[in-house]
C-alpha cells in the first residue's frame, strides 16, 4: 500500500510520538509495579512514575495526536465516512488523552503519600489500561481494518 511522499514527515513525527508515548507508559508502569508492594524505594518509584507521565508522556502524546490530525486533515478527512481504523485511532487517542490527564493527577497525589496505597494501585491499573489500548491502536494503524 502506497502513500504520498508529502505524508512522510508528519507520519514520521506521528509514529515517533506514539513510540515515545509507549516508552513513557512502559517506564511508568514498570516503576508502579515495583512500587506496588511498598517497601524500600517505593516512594522514589512513585515519584519517578509521576514525573515520567508528566514530562515524557504528555509531550509524546501531543506529538502523536497533533501529527495524526495533520495527516487526517491533509489526506483522509476530505469528506465521506472515515475508515474503521481511523475511527479506532481517534477513539483510543481521545479517550487516552482524558485517561492520561486523570492518571497524571492521581499519580501526583500518589507520589505525595508516604506509602503505596489504593491510589498508586489505581494509577498502575490505569497506566496498564492505556498501554493495552495503544497496542490495539498499533494493530488498527497497521492492519487497517475496514480500509
Amino acid at each position: 500500500m502506497l502513500r504520498p511522499n508529502s505524508l512522510d514527515f508528519p507520519l514520521f513525527l506521528h509514529v515517533l510520538g506514539a513510540m515515545l508515548l509507549v516508552g513513557a507508559l512502559v517506564a511508568a508502569l514498570t516503576a508502579l509495579l515495583y512500587a506496588w508492594r511498598g517497601g524500600d524505594g517505593s516512594a522514589t518509584l512513585r515519584r519517578f512514575a509521576f514525573r515520567t507521565l508528566l514530562i515524557a508522556g504528555i509531550p509524546s502524546y501531543l506529538l502523536m495526536r497533533i501529527d495524526a490530525q495533520w495527516i487526517y486533515d491533509r489526506e483522509i478527512g476530505s469528506g465521506g465516512k472515515d475508515p474503521d481504523w481511523v475511527g479506532v485511532g481517534f477513539i483510543i487517542s481521545d479517550l487516552g488523552a482524558l485517561l492520561l490527564i486523570i492518571t497524571c493527577i492521581l499519580a501526583w497525589r500518589a507520589a505525595k503519600k508516604p506509602t503505596t496505597g489504593g491510589l498508586a494501585r489505581t494509577v498502575t491499573v490505569l497506566t496498564g489500561l492505556m498501554l493495552v489500548a495503544y497496542v490495539v491502536a498499533i494493530w488498527a494503524m497497521t492492519a487497517k481494518p475496514g480500509a
Binding site: 502506497l2 512522510d8 507520519l11 514520521f12 509514529v15 515517533l16 506514539a18 513510540m19 515515545l20 509507549v22 516508552g23 513513557a24 507508559l25 512502559v26 517506564a27 514498570t30 516503576a31 515495583y34 524500600d40 524505594g41 517505593s42 522514589t44 518509584l45 519517578f48 515520567t52 515524557a56 497496542v135 498499533i138 494493530w139 494503524m141 497497521t142 492492519a143 487497517k144 481494518p145
Partner: protein, 159 residues
Amino acid sequence: MSLNDWLLFLHVAAAFAVVAAITVFTILVIVGRRIDRPAEAVAVFRVGDPANILVQAGTVLVLVLGVWLAIRLPEYHPWDGWLIGAYVLWAVAGGAGAAAGKEYMRIQKRAQELVAEGRLEPSPELRAELHAARPLVFHLVTTAAVLGLLVLMIFKPGA
C-alpha cells in the same frame, strides 16, 4: 487479516518495543544524572530490567519479520539500498546498545554493592560513574541509530 497484515503488525509492534525500551533507558540516563544515593539508584535502575527483555526480543523480531516482509511484498527486496542501510544501522544499534547496557549494568551492580555494604549516604563514586561520558556516548549512538532506522522505515529512500 492476511499473513502480510500480521507480519506488518508484528514487525511494527517489535519496532515499538525497541523504541519504547530505548525511551525507558533514556529516561533512566537522565534521571540517573541527578542521583547520588545508592539505594535510590538501585530502586530506579530496576525499571530498566523489563526494558532489557523488550529490547532484546524486539531487536531480533524486528529484523526477522522485516526481512520476511521484504521477501513477501513484490514492491520491496531484501537487497534494496534503504534496507541495506537499515541492516547497517541495526548492527550499529545492537553493538552500541549492548555496550551501553553492559556499562549501566556495571553501575547498577556497584550501587547494589554499596547498599549491601550499608553505605547509604550520597556516593561521589556513584555520581562520577553516572556522569561518565563513555556509557552516555554508547547510549546516544544507539539512540541515533534507532532514530535513523525509523527515518529509513518511514521515508524509504529509493523505494
